[in-house]
Assembly symmetry: D2
Homo-oligomer: 294 residues x 4
């Protein structure tokens, strides 16, 4: 299912003016990304503002999203939290939705388990889940790092099929080198997209693809024959990818989608929409506006 | 209410063998800590494993704890999460419980708001809450730092009455220096207990006080007349305070309470109880056991 | 000799307009600091711009400084580098100067020895030196940290008599707790001055004392009877102490001494004197100027 | 001159049993590296233990090394220190040696200049030097980071022809993107070798090439046609490259060269030779020995 899935978009959750999920817009966005070369989706990830979606909202979102995608590409759905019991419970509910291909389970944030605790958490979730599990390792948000050795050990556990890894190049390579060929290794860092595929990973789970899918697609297509041309595209994209994290995500990507005419709406607190000064800095960083001397 | 509250214990949540909150044990623990010199409690903090308590459990815990304390010392109850709407909703429910003196609201973790977002979050919560709010600033868990200037700005906002600060000495002093005398400044780092009170803070919100309340009490009492004697106590306590965070909290403090005869039970996943090797290292670090040469 | 030496100033090296060491100014500065309550000096430390002083300049500086101090307070002279052979050689030359009380030997910078290498370095230097050695542990400059256990081990070695420690509160306390009473423990961080003495250290090796000696003296004198009054002084001083490191040291302290009428001259490259914008920011941070809205 | 120089070895300084530079061994090593595909040398870099070489030793080393290389590949010689005047002086002396192609000048370590100071340092050195200058930006050793913008500004300055950059992927790409095509950009991190060339850099200044030159050569040759094959080689090499920095460099690489039969001798203090336990761990990490269960 994930064989061709080298660019997976970690989708925003469009909200309408009533602060409800905007499914028509979600459909437009989804179709456009597939047309531009997208090969998979993560729904209900961090970019989707899941901390501020209710459980009911998430279940409705996932169920309707399956209909929108309609089997064209694989779907990963976020189901993790910092409670093992809570994660098991919610993953079970999501697994009832036919058409979800995997559950993304984040390393528990805030309460800071150690490696033993992480293993126990993921094994318990994998055991209880009908859906295959993808680990989400993002130390900058969770406050803890799942070690390379833990990822490798869990990669051998039944029903754990992949990892979305945010970390150093060196750790990333070790995971690719020491896991089975069919274990799905994705970078969760857009600026590592070219690097990740070069060293044998499946690809990237991307935020920037909301805006730069065509460039990403071209980069991944051209690297087979001309790595230096692909390198030029990465060099061009990297500062834009970083700019999308100048302010709390997904406020920058939502602002740009809105500006480009696809109305994905505002963010929910504690994430604020960009104010005017932030908008200006973002546009300059994205090369959409000339820097001024103010 | 908080005038005398210089040592506030961030309580563990005792669990019985049915994995339910153990109220008789909680009562024993509470009474003992007050007898030993404790002057306040934080219930439902990180040490209380709130990520793995259901909302219903927390509400029952807080309501019954008010009865246990029975007005002897002030009570702070944890009510925060990384959703502003969710925090407002839960804080309202907690404020219905008569006898809670303040709500501890953590800086949103994981979704990483910026300073503007933090301000919006805390102002929205303070506006909606009948309970006074204490900010909990703990970058190592949340992935973001509330800047000193933000703390100072929020200290002037109605209904925000204090901060539990985990950070550098320099930032801590600036907060004390630049907030009103009645703004409650507590360190959330046990090893900063003496330092914090020396530079004018109210005191410490403490984990180590579960085990070392008498020493802490003596340190705070003696510092008025003999800072060097107090310094000796701090030097003695600091390695023990650090040892209680060698493994994911509250597993070390729960292990020690159990070992000392007060059966507070196990932890909930993803926090594991200490295995034998961890127990040994902890006991050595606490000076309860001789190091061996294995 | 170091019994009373609780505030040791890490002296700047005054330079005249010919870019030579200005001994008359050095004498004025030294006398003033003793009058204001200074109880010792470090000559030829980092603050003294030793990387840009020739060996001949350093030897002349140390010899003449002994005459200036004339036995009133103890003198520590910097002799370390990142070559063990070079450190031994220079320390021997300095030990020929009668009146120097100890040599400050920095943990080797840049080439990053491990703990074993550090021990070998310090033991070799201590063995070869007639002067007693004080270790200078400053990870932010050297790129490596001498572990607490290494400091403790070296504290027992003949001829190693103290440490100037820059690091965490916790490590600092462990060093005090686990070294002999006559082992000299100084903090090299001005904002830790009060904390350090509270937990039993000898005191501080200070840059800020060039400008705030009277406050430091008062803080150390009053803490015996009123720690909270001392805490207020520390809180007042800390932001100023930090401001002196807003720009590469010693350019801020030299600028302020010049501004206050004691002409210590410019810095040598690669340390530049403050430009006008930097001067303004410094003055605002020191509370010498009102912030503007530019 | 540097057109073909994609793999430049940062050479160790072989020492004979009299602790003097061993020129016959240096010649053997040099010739072997050229035969295996090396295309340039850095002599007198950090790997060459320059902090412990006297000025006279360095000048002799550089002069004799020119004869050894005899124009086959370009030579970069280390000339920097943390004194601007000292750097100018030594760079002038080195420029008298006919056959050195560029001087590597490190960002001043330990005294921590800011960006303004770094610019002043490099401009002063470039102005005074007949040799073209390559900047060496290595924050982990120097304690300061030369910002990307500073590198870009200096890249336009006459006589500054390149940078050896140690830092993030993102910064590295920005330097390549924003400097002229003939500005030499090298990574100083072996694990970034493939990445660096992919995004358009000249190549790598390498320590691991002492031992893995053939692999590096093959990786760089094959990447033009098969990036995934090159990626496999990088993945294989990365843990070995990291292992060579498990202990203070160059002790691991010297140990391995000695073990492989090329007697490059011991290190000078404060860098110690590997003890037996370290040797074992290194050999295991390099895949030269099976891990044991001790």
């Amino acid at each position: 299912m994930f064989k061709q899935a080298d660019i997976i978009t970690a989708l925003v959750t469009p909200l309408n003016c009533g602060n409800q999920i905007d499914f028509p817009i979600l459909k437009l966005l989804t179709n456009r990304l597939i047309e531009e070369g997208g090969t998979g989706f993560l729904i209900g990830g961090t970019t989707g503002e899941t901390p501020t979606l209710s459980e009911a909202e998430k279940l409705e979102l996932y169920a309707k999203f399956v209909k929108i995608v309609d089997g064209r590409v694989p779907i990963i759905a976020g189901t993790g939290s910092n409670s093992t019991a809570g994660t098991i419970d919610f993953t079970k509910k999501v697994s009832e939705i036919d058409g979800i291909n995997a559950a993304l389970v984040v390393v528990p944030y805030y309460n800071k388990p150690n490696q033993r605790g992480m293993k126990a958490h993921f094994k318990a979730v994998a055991d209880a889940s009908k859906l295959p599990i993808i680990i989400y390792n993002i130390p900058g948000r969770t406050g803890v790092t799942m070690d390379v050795d833990t990822v490798i050990e869990l990669s051998k556990y039944p029903n754990i099929i992949g990892v979305k890894q945010c970390g150093s190049m060196e750790d990333f390579e070790k995971i690719v080198e020491n896991t089975a060929d069919d274990f799905l290794v994705y970078t969760g860092e857009d600026p590592q997209a070219l690097f990740a595929k070069s060293v044998g990973a499946r690809g990237v789970i991307s935020v920037a693809s909301h805006l730069y899918m065509k460039d990403l697609r071209e980069m991944y297509d051209v690297m087979d024959s001309d790595i230096y041309e692909a390198g030029k595209i990465q060099r061009y994209l990297t500062p834009k990818m970083q700019a999308l994290f100048m302010y709390p995500s997904p406020s920058p990507v939502k602002f740009m989608l809105n500006r480009n005419g696809l109305n994905v709406g505002l963010c929910r607190l504690p994430i604020l929409d960009l104010n005017e000064a932030e908008q200006n800095k973002l546009l300059i960083a994205l090369g959409e506006k000339e820097p001024t001397n103010d």
